[in-house]
């Protein structure tokens, strides 16, 4: 697991309101099917921005961006963060 993945899981743990599910999540699991509500998703979005010190552009603030751990990581990486947390 990369540092980025670990940080994303940490955010989901705190803000996802997913209960005990986070530890057993696969990177391509559909988070909405696992119970991520829209309100919780917005909180996850804000926490991801804080954790990686990025501002996700409006065009990426969609449901698709936060559907899986993979898709969140791809978005974070596309915004220029490729080496995990400093």
């Amino acid at each position: 697991m990369t540092d980025i993945d670990a940080a994303i899981r940490q955010v989901l743990e705190v803000h996802g309101r997913l209960g005990a599910v986070v530890a057993s999540l696969k990177n391509d699991d559909d988070l909405y099917q696992k119970g991520l509500s829209s309100h919780a998703c917005v909180n996850v979005m804000l926490a991801i921005e804080d954790a990686f010190e990025i501002e996700i552009p409006e065009a990426f603030l969609t449901r698709a961006t936060f559907r899986t751990i993979d898709s969140i990581r791809e978005t974070v990486e596309s915004l220029g963060l490729t080496n995990g947390l400093g």
Binding site: V42, L46, L61, R63
Partner: protein, 309 residues
Amino acid sequence: MNSNDFRNQLLEAGVLVDAGSPGLYHRSADYESVVRALESYVREAGRDDNPQRLFFAPVINLETLMGSGYVGSFPNLIGTIDSFDGDMKKLGEFRERVDSGGEWFELMSHTDVALCSAACHSVYPMYKGATLPIEGLYFEVQANCFRHEPSMDPARLQSFRMHEFVYLGNPDGALEFRERWIAKGQQLLGDLGLVLDLVPANDPFFGRGAQIMAQGQLEKELKFEITATISSDTPGAISSGNYHEDHFGVTFSMSTHDGHVAHSACFAFGLDRITLALYYAHGFQLEEWPDEVRERLALGQSSHFIEPT
């Protein structure tokens, strides 16, 4: 017709009277008789569930507004209420500012009441912490609601009546209730000569994350709107069927008889928008509306509105 032409014609015909702010109107007795006829018309259709019927005040408790989720999601649409709550010293300054045309608003304090956000929002706090009966709970409610969206389009009122049917219970019951009412609503409104469409919809969420919220609502098909032409050739929503999932169940700690979080659903008739849609479709003279429509609404039987003598 565009909405500006329709607005001018409504004012000219005296159906509405400009009340000084965009989207705020006084209503004629004729207009009001249609609103009340609609109320009786939909009530008749809701009798089967034997709902508890309540009429809410236009002002609600702040906790009710907070529980609605509107404060976070639509801060641009809600209305809170301020009043003066200062001592004699502050009163002196306050009066000075009022008299001199100064910034007296700054000296007002927040109260614990707000303008009603949606009719059904007052239902859920009444059952805070409750365990619901196995058959669920049914309501028929009405309220004057407020949306801060000043517009010259008469379809976008700042103050309007919402008449809602509400279910509180388990997920299956909520979905079944909503499906049943969407079908019933289409039938009732179609019978009034309105050309309808049923569309999946989302609420107008505000700020960053708005798209996530809206897409979530659409993907999970939480909201459907029945649309018709209201004030122009572009259709707008005159009713909506909503499945709230466990939002109110969680917020107000309501559970089903078997210990799960309660789910809820509502079906809302926008009485003012439907009335406007009827004027748009059938003209400004109630006597000239199609006989069928007049009969269904029992218009002209003068039972709905007693004019003062």
